[in-house]
């Protein structure tokens, strides 16, 4: 997703073991989980449409 619009989108893969405090802050207890703008979360590998829904909801669209 980031590659489509790198000016506005950053996509991180976060190694939870190396970033335990960040994981704790977001309440990450299972992986994979996608955190959107530090708030909404989508657990698991889900279809594109589901992730897009979560993102749109977070962006208020």
């Amino acid at each position: 997703m980031a590659r489509v619009n790198p000016t506005h989108i950053v996509a991180d893969m976060v190694d939870a073991a190396t970033f335990p405090n960040l994981s704790d802050r977001y309440g990450v207890y299972s992986v994979p989980v996608t955190v959107v703008n530090g708030n909404s979360q989508q657990v698991g590998a889900v279809p594109e449409a589901q992730l897009a829904r979560v993102i749109k909801q977070e962006l208020g669209q």
């Binding site: 980031a2 590659r3 991180d12 893969m13 976060v14 190396t18 970033f19 989980v33 594109e48």
Partner: protein, 142 residues
Amino acid sequence: MAIISDNIRPDVERFLSDMQEPVTADFYPHSASPASEPMKQLLLELKEINPLIRVVDHGQAATPIDPERPEDIEGPVTSFSVNGQFTGVRYLGFPGGQEFTTFLEDIVDISRNRSVELSPATQDWLKNLTEPLHLEVFVTPT
């Protein structure tokens, strides 16, 4: 001791031989993280395997990207750019286990500017986004 063992090096060479454009890995270590040295070594070994991978060691921790806070940067961060342009893709930590394959795939995809596997509608929507979107996918290297 090498990060990429001799028995998998030929596979890594073969995989990275698909690269086309140079990819720059901007590496930001973290002095207190035990993952920093292995990550730096991994990047240098990958560069040795395929010189289309360029490594820039910035020698200091990454600047947080909103909504990250400074204290969230607790390990090494690697961001990827092509032709001087940030791709929007970063790796926080060390890509161990099964994450290593994904890491290599990302490098090759970026290098070949491969089409993203998103529907045209989603791509259009994302292209027209003008507000910041920060996606953080948490994984555990196994």
